[in-house]
Amino acid sequence: MLLRHTKPEIKERQVLTINPAKTCQPIGAMYASLGIHNCLPHSHGSQGCCAYHRSTLTRHYKEQVLSGTSSFTEGAAVFGGQSNLVQAIDNIFTVYNPDIIAVHTTCLSETIGDDIPQIIGKAKEEGKIPPGKIVIHTNTPSYAGSHVTGFSNMVASMVSYLSEPGEKRASRANIIPGWVDPADIREIKRLLDMMDIDNIMFPDTSGVLDTPLTGKQEYFPAGGTTIQALRATGKSKITIALGPTSSLAAARLLDTKCKVPYEILDLPIGLEATDAFVDTLRRNFHTDVPDEINGERGRLLNMISNMHQYTYNKRVALWGDPDQLVALTQFLVLLNMKPVYIVTGTPGNNFTDRINTVLKGTVPEVKVLQGQGADMYKMHQWIKQEGVDLLIGNTYGKYIARDENTPFIRAGFPILDRVGHQYFPIVGYKGAMRLCEMILNAFLDKKDRECPEESFELVM
């Protein structure tokens, strides 16, 4: 057993992190930047950071991920990274020629105190930024927050650098989708299209990290929010921000800067959260919900009713990022399941409150852990004390799944060992149906594999 060292007795650890349920800020900023059209993300730090983020994103999305790096040396660590970044900006525009460079920092450049806006100013002064080209930045110190914080920071920076206020408001929604996969963004767009609602989706990684195979090399694929669209976000009627941890900062800033009001919702994962999303759109745009969407909802309900006896009272452990966990928990409650252990390494306010709100008191034994000590080791200890019927989370749960012989469905980031998430959404009614399918099949596959021969059944 790989995790044979996990002991069921919990001895409080003061400081030690074992098998983290988070990673560092910069990768989130890189992922968000990839959602801008013709953008090259840039990592202002050592080469390794950039290589690790690119590799991890590639393992999850199975796509090429490009990003520049300031390639820090000892000299840069002592004298500051200014000349590296100026040279990088010059090289990137000369050779790769993106419309925009989105710089994020690292623990190294944060600690030595590089002032990125000042450096960008210097690059501009020295003529390294060609006319019409843009450099934006966000601060992503790896020693604070998590990958989700980095994502949130970069999305907020898109607003602070690019959104332009305007007198005239278009009848249009800004949609901040949160940290979801390209397939999820496609699904959200499909719902918007069906409701005929004009929108600006940002960031938008669809068409960037789920590109078709054409036999051609696209450094900057067709997808991503254009700079023009990002500028226009200041003139939209409303911002709908999905998932407070990753999207609230940008929505708030857009309100402060351009007076665009916002509504903050959970990620539309599961029936009720999708209801809330669809209803918010309906209310704000005075439109009817089309029959097609109602049909999808009805089919989801039908599916849930068909499987409810299998899901009743099943104990679930889940881990990952706060926004996903809150929405998933809410959905599991609807399926009459019991989310008993919930872990996120991402710090932030009121996570436990949000979980308790969606649990509605249905799972009094629930254990929720966030921040220090919220790691996969603790999750495993809990499971050793009292087992669960299902695991839901990113790939890092596979050790526990194997050791404890527990069905496991993969959701979240990163997924390094399965296909599916690159192409099929978990948001919207259809995404919820996919979750139902995965959950039910995980139970039934286990039963077929393990039940005694005499109770092996053809019809289930």
Partner: protein, 452 residues
């Protein structure tokens, strides 16, 4: 078409007759280039990580530990501590007030929890800047807990991956020489620079066993602390992946007078050469005989199938890009065994000598690349009409998007590619990818797939 970055012109040799061969390498990547390289920490981590009964603690913010958590597939036949991820998870206040206290506490908790044979503590960028005295903390904990606690000075910005290899070698030399070496037979060696990815060290060990050679320590594939302590008792160091282990081999030569040879276990030629060389150095006529019959048996077992693949692959063209340069040599030869031609070859960290050797080995017009990037890779895949790319995780989608076959010869290889059976596995993998029907739907690529 994207041009080559002007700072990089001397790191690309295009194989033109009018071009003087003078590879510039060992250079720091130009800022802003989309380099495929990683950092010092990465170098140390990949070298030491396969030591399975030690804990590997990353001293820094959580990322460095998270991204290197069990990504290499370095297998262990026993303990698997190396596959867990431990981090001091430094926070803002640690950065301001220093991380030494936290490091001390984490180490203590960690050692009390797992009772490892040794602990390696990796310094990351931030540790180099805030100036934690890792050595002092490691000494203290070592004294208190009675095990080796070894600092690895792998601050990311202090050079390239190569410097990370050196830091790892320095760390290893701290434990080599601390074990009892009585009873080690004459015919004995250390396997250096094989990391047991997909069980490759096991394969190599089985060959050595068959010819009658004792392996004292594997450094570091399926590695154990107590074995490494005794490494100075071996009569020969056999170094693969020379980039990572040469400094250790050299220092062991100086310190313990142990000679070393450079070998590769990839491909029929190189594998056989390695075994013969070891037999010559360590054995008698009988061992040489055993080696001969092993080679004959193994080659005979795999050749029929390999010949079949050769009929399918004859004339196919490959681009090979790896971390270290030494592996490229073996791959060029292995591809020749399959009737294939290496039209582009390169590495992240090759030195001048490596590139000269590569130049001599390859064809006149083979393009050579040092520290390349996705743009250049894509450019040469198309210009040289490549059918197969051999590389690692970041190169895979570049190949597929251009409709080109791919073989992972890095962390993510899932089947053993070393030794004779490894050559057969390699042939299967190359064949299955180059000749996959999926490429027949690519207008540009229909030669080997018989498609539209």
């Amino acid at each position: 078409m994207i041009d080559i970055l002007k700072d990089r012109q001397n790191q690309v040799f295009e194989g033109r007759k009018d071009q003087k061969f003078e590879m510039s390498c060992d250079k720091i990547s130009a800022a802003g280039s989309v380099s495929q390289r990683a950092c010092v920490f990465c170098g140390s981590r990949v070298v030491l990580y396969p030591i399975a009964d030690a804990v590997h603690l990353v001293h820094g913010p959580v990322g460095c530990a998270a991204y290197t958590w069990d990504i290499r597939g370095a297998l262990s036949s026993g303990p698997e501590l190396h596959r867990l991820s431990f981090s001091t998870d430094l926070k803002e206040k640690d950065v301001v007030f220093g991380g030494e206290k936290k490091l001390y506490k984490v180490l203590t908790e960690l050692i009390d929890t797992y009772h490892p044979k040794a602990a390696f503590v990796y310094g990351t960028c931030i540790v180099g800047v805030i100036g934690d005295d890792m050595d002092a903390v490691c000494r203290t904990v070592s004294r208190e807990k009675g095990i080796d606690v070894i600092p690895v000075h792998s601050e990311g910005f202090k050079g390239t991956k190569k410097n990370g290899y050196q830091a790892a070698c320095t760390a290893l030399s701290n434990i080599i020489g601390t074990g009892d070496i009585s009873g080690i037979p004459e015919a004995s060696l250390n396997i250096m620079g094989d990391f047991n990815v997909a069980g490759e060290t096991w394969q190599i060990k089985s060959y050595y066993k068959r010819i009658g050679v004792n392996v004292v320590a594997s450094i570091t594939g399926d590695g154990r602390v107590d074995e490494i302590r005794r490494a100075h008792g071996a009569r020969l160091n056999v170094v693969q992946c020379s980039g990572s282990m040469m400094t250790l081999a050299q220092s062991m030569k100086e310190k313990y007078n142990i000679p070393f040879i450079r070998v590769s276990y990839f491909g029929i030629e190189d594998m056989s050469k390695a075994l013969y060389e070891v037999a010559e150095r360590l054995g008698d006529a009988a061992m040489l005989e055993r080696t001969k019959s092993l080679v004959q048996e193994e080659v005979a077992a795999i050749m029929p199938e390999i010949r079949y693949y050769r009929t399918k692959l004859e004339g196919a063209r490959a681009l090979v890009y790896t971390g270290g340069a030494f592996k490229v040599f073996s791959l060029v030869r292995s591809l020749r065994t399959l009737g294939m031609k290496t039209v582009v070859a390169g590495s992240q960290t090759g030195d001048k000598e490596d590139y000269q050797q590569l130049r001599d080995l390859c064809d006149e017009d083979t393009v050579l690349l040092d520290d390349t990037n996705p743009m250049e890779l894509a450019k040469y895949i198309q210009e040289k009409d490549v059918d197969l790319l051999i590389g690692g995780v970041k190169e895979r989608p570049i190949a597929y998007k251009l409709g080109v076959g791919f073989c992972d010869h890095n962390h993510e290889r899932k089947i053993c590619l070393a030794g004779y059976s490894g050559m057969l596995n390699f042939s299967r993998e190359v064949y299955s990818s180059v000749c996959s029907p999926v490429w027949s739907l690519m207008p540009r690529r229909r030669k080997f797939t018989g498609g539209i």
